[in-house]
């Protein structure tokens, strides 16, 4: 659990520490290459391209660490930012990996024949296999939704392909051989590749097996408004999970923790109760559409808590919460936790949805008003007749009308569909709110 005393300064220091470690890992092979004995240098572009190749390989290794959900690594940034970084770094890695052969070919076009697997040697053949697998990996990730690849299949293929990419690129490095010219250099690279594959095995098998001693049981599946459900879980023979309001966990609903079907959901319950927790889930896809059919007693496994979208991370005199649709789930956790803690700080909640009847947790929010300094602004796209409240979308005028006078000193938390969050963030920036005071929770994690 995150230490409450953790300051933002300490987070910044840890954050820069990890970035330094990252850069050190990426440049480590070219440093090892310079340790004697080294072959005498070749021309500039050839060596340049070799350096890029090694940088690419090391970035791939780092990718495995990034997605391992190590809390000490993700804490300074928030895991959503880490996963976004994972995708962007993949593009950088892909660029340098592709540049590596392209520069070599341009440098001496007669090397083009190495593209033909029948003409090259094993080093070039493994290089070709690596690049092809990597391109498939990238394409299936980028276009997963377009080609309608099921999430579990994608996850499985991502896992297998990424391990193959590491193995084949290591074979390429070992066989190309110029810079692995001694036994110990060769050993360092082989060890690194083995450790990477080992990390995958650890995550897939050992960590999952460990989840077995932290089982959860579904106690209730409660219908909420707007095709949403509250999934209530109870810890089985353990103390539960200490989370901060607004965080989330990856949930597996299966008899075995080794399943690849795993989805992130925000806690909607208050953070005081660690053994009985709740998630707010809306029917949107294959997995969430099945939530209503889950029987009480079903076994569940959690990986968490994760996420930087929480009110305890940012000291503030008061809050503004803005929810769109099921984006209310983590905000329910905010409100419930604040109520449990008798938090006196003022809150304004904007809650936008299509209809009055579709406002999940509407009654709970009204109840929470009794314990909290809470003002709620409902914004409906299709309001009922006689609706006195706000209608349409959240726009600048609406914000100006309802934001408290000292809003620029408050911290603002927004959770909803991406387009809505982007628009509101722009509006708030225009109104003079600092970017560091605006916090967004994006659902599209995976």
């Amino acid at each position: 659990m995150m230490d409450k005393k953790e300051t933002s300064l300490r987070r910044d220091i840890t954050g820069f520490f990890w970035i330094t470690i990252f850069l050190a890992i990426v440049v480590s092979p070219v440093c090892i290459m310079l340790v004697m004995p080294t072959p005498s240098g070749r021309e500039f572009w050839l060596e340049f391209s070799v350096a890029l190749g090694f940088f690419g390989l090391m970035q791939l290794v780092v990718q495995f660490i990034l997605i391992a959900r190590f809390k000490s690594v993700t804490r300074p940034y928030g895991i959503d930012v880490i996963l976004q970084f994972h995708r962007r770094l993949a593009l950088v890695a892909m660029s340098v990996i592709l540049l590596h052969p392209i520069i070599i070919m341009i440098n001496n076009p007669s090397r083009l024949k190495m593209l033909n697997p029948l003409e090259g040697n094993w080093a070039s053949r493994f290089a070709i296999i690596t690049v092809v697998l990597f391109l498939v990996l990238a394409a299936t990730s980028r276009f997963r939704e377009k080609i309608k690849l099921k999430y579990e299949y994608w996850r499985m293929s991502h896992l297998v392909l990424s391990v193959l990419v590491i193995v084949f690129s290591q074979l390429h490095v070992s066989l190309a051989g110029l810079y692995t010219n001694t036994f110990w250099k060769q050993s360092i690279f082989v060890t690194m590749a083995t450790a990477t594959v080992g990390l995958v095995l650890y995550l897939r098998f050992i960590k999952s097996a460990w989840q077995r001693s932290n089982q959860w049981r579904v106690t209730e599946v409660r219908q909420e408004r707007g095709d949403s459900w509250t999934l209530a879980l109870e810890a089985e023979n353990h103390s539960g999970i200490s989370f901060l309001p607004g965080q989330f966990a990856w949930l597996k609903l299966a008899s075995s923790p080794f399943t690849l079907e795993e989805h992130p959901f925000s806690f909607s319950s208050g953070s005081m109760s660690t053994a009985c927790i709740e998630f707010g889930i809306k029917e949107l896809g294959d997995f969430t559409g099945e939530i209503k059919n889950i029987q009480p007693g079903t076994r569940a496994y959690l990986d968490g808590p994760h996420g930087a979208f929480n009110i305890d991370r940012y000291p503030a005199v008061g809050f503004v919460f803005i929810a769109g649709g099921i984006g209310i789930a983590p905000i329910m956790s905010f409100l419930r936790s604040m109520s449990e803690r008798k938090d006196p700080r003022p809150v304004v909640l904007f809650y936008a949805d299509r209809t009055w009847d579709g406002l999940a947790f509407r009654e709970d929010i009204e109840e929470l008003k009794e314990n909290l300094d809470l003002k709620v602004v409902y914004v409906l796209q299709e309001p009922p007749e006689n609706w006195q409240g706000e209608r349409g979308m959240i726009d600048k005028e609406l914000l100006e009308n309802h934001l408290p006078e000292e809003f620029i000193h408050r911290n603002i938390f927004i959770c909803g569909p991406d387009p809505m969050m982007n628009v509101i963030q722009e509006l708030l920036l225009e109104l003079g709110v600092e970017k560091v005071s605006i916090h967004l929770e994006r659902f599209s994690l995976a």
């Binding site: 080294t38 005498s40 240098g41 500039f44 060596e47």
Partner: protein, 175 residues
């Protein structure tokens, strides 16, 4: 920190990596880090001021241009051929011009994955010396009859200006 990693970090990383690769390539290509003393001396000592001696120039040139791939004793390694078959090619019909051509224009073939880069920038006198050096070292002297068979700079000059590709050169290989 969230903002930094989410927006700025990736660009800084790209700049850093390109910079590091450039630094590494510069360091390597200008032989800042080397392990073989002879190779270094060959790179920086222009051997001027000495009396001309083709075998010295040949050795110097060999260490500078060839040893990296073909080994300091012509033993070859990995994807790079050893040079003990050079004299056999040299003495076969058309072999003389083939050996010169592959040095000037480079060579690519299905026998070896890695191509021989064109070395045409090397002056006639140095190229003749270095090929002669190879033909008379590494045990090759057994095959070559030194009298009258070795190359002279005009032999190199004669083969220049043909506009051959490394593949063309391979087509002229004696069987």
């Amino acid at each position: 920190m969230r903002h930094f990693l989410g927006n700025i970090a990736i660009y800084l990383i790209i700049v850093f990596l390109v910079g590091a690769a450039t630094f590494f390539a510069w360091m390597r290509s200008s032989q800042i880090v080397i392990s073989n003393e002879e190779t270094v001396i060959a790179r920086f000592d222009t051997s001027s001021g000495r009396q001309f001696n083709w075998s010295q120039l040949g050795e110097h040139s060999y260490l500078r241009n060839c040893a990296n791939c073909h080994g300091s004793d012509g033993q070859g390694w990995g994807q790079y051929p050893a040079l003990n078959h050079t004299p056999l090619l040299f003495i076969s019909p058309q072999g003389r011009s083939y050996i010169i051509d592959l040095h000037i224009y480079g060579l690519t073939s299905s026998r070896w994955a890695v191509p021989m880069p064109p070395m045409g920038h090397i002056q006639d006198i140095e190229m003749a010396s270095v090929i002669n050096y190879v033909l008379t070292q590494f045990g090759n002297e057994e095959t070559i009859n030194e009298d009258g068979e070795l190359l002279r700079p005009p032999d190199i000059a004669e083969r220049r200006g043909q506009n051959l590709s490394p593949k063309d050169v391979n087509g002229r290989r004696p069987n």
